[in-house]
Subunit: 195 residues, 2 copies
DNA sequence: TCTGTTTCAGAACGCACGTTCTAGATCGAC
DNA sequence: GTCGATCTAGAACGTGCGTTCTGAAACAGA
């Protein structure tokens, strides 16, 4: 009876993510969105309610995928500490990224301060990243990769802060060296707790 | 012949800074601006050209004042190292700030990616902060407050990144502990280079 | 084939925006 | 007092926005 959806909602969402990343929520207009998403206005409204609904869905999709990617570096590493090292080192890649591919989470933090729902979505992603790092650091400590004097919780919190600092400054073309330095310092700090 | 300006342009600019901080560039509408600035539309256009002109002026004013404040902590301290320590420690205050008082520099970095002029303004401020810290660290090293193994340039770059990471996460209500941890870690890292 | 939903293209809606214009009041300089 | 620029208040401009509506085409299930 009912005709199933013909367009791929997941692909549409990914394209929305891309546009929101490069244009932001306000500047990404509905005409632009429909053009890049490959579906007409009406289908978009049927699927996501309105522009903000699409944005929240894109925000959640982006954050989940981003954090998944980061955390997978922890689980696939030979050891917990090496996992964190790999993860932190990978942040240096942000320095070489195209400015139009900035972190959507950071964008949302900055200009969705008055959108409680958006805030909760991004806060969830940040928390998840921090938790993943903290867990890995605790494992590393238990495994003897870190000295007992290391403070996994504090370290994890600090590393997350560095991560988002890198995410912001990477948007400034002249910050390549800053990003590299921040990553190098974070790694040195981490390694200073090795026995 | 000519009648001098009656309103205080400096005060107007400060009020513009406050509104742009809490609302962002796009959301701060002209009616809102004229209401909060205490001058009428026409005067605003005469003085600043247009909305973007006012924004750039506010951005520059904010950044200059912000960096001035930070750097003054370096110059008034008993020693170069204590100056940096005081400066870094003060970033923890961001954690307790009202969300509507976020860093305008960060806002500009995030949603003025395609405004070359705005980008240059904020890049100048970031550079100035980094340079101030680097100079202080070099002085500290020369004075024997830091070991010869410390790398002032790299440290300064890393600290600036931490500063802006703190600035972003401070906008998330649940980040008080993260901000504190980042500051504490940065201080520990700094102090680890003391002879 | 029929039926009912989805998709499409595009027109149309109301609204808020940044900006410009008009006209009168204000006030320092001459 | 006169001149000329500045400030005020408010109407009005055009534009682009998000959204809704219209009607026809596409297409899966009965």
């Amino acid at each position: 009876m009912a005709r199933p959806r013909t367009f791929n909602e997941s692909e549409v969402l990914e394209r929305a993510v891309a546009l929101f990343r490069s244009r932001g929520f306000e500047r990404a207009s509905m005409p632009e969105l429909t053009a890049h998403l490959g579906i007409c206005r009406q289908s978009l409204y049927n699927a996501f309610g309105d522009k903000r609904g699409l944005y929240l869905a894109a925000l959640d999709r982006y954050g989940a995928r981003e954090i998944d990617t980061k955390l997978s570096q922890l689980s696939t590493a030979p050891s917990p500490l090496q996992g964190v090292q790999t993860l932190v080192a990978s942040w240096a890649d942000y320095g070489a990224q195209c400015p139009s591919e900035g972190c959507l989470t950071i964008t949302a933090i900055v200009d969705s301060t008055d959108d409680e729902e958006a805030r909760q979505i991004v806060e969830g992603h940040v928390d998840r990243l921090e938790k993943g790092i903290r867990t890995a650091l605790k494992k590393a400590q238990s495994a003897g990769e870190l000295t007992p004097t290391a403070q996994p919780t504090r370290l994890a919190r600090s590393l997350v802060t560095t991560c988002y600092g890198v995410g912001v400054l990477a948007k400034l073309p002249g910050s390549t060296q800053r990003v590299k330095a921040a990553v190098a310092e974070a790694l040195d700090r981490l390694n200073s707790f090795q026995p």
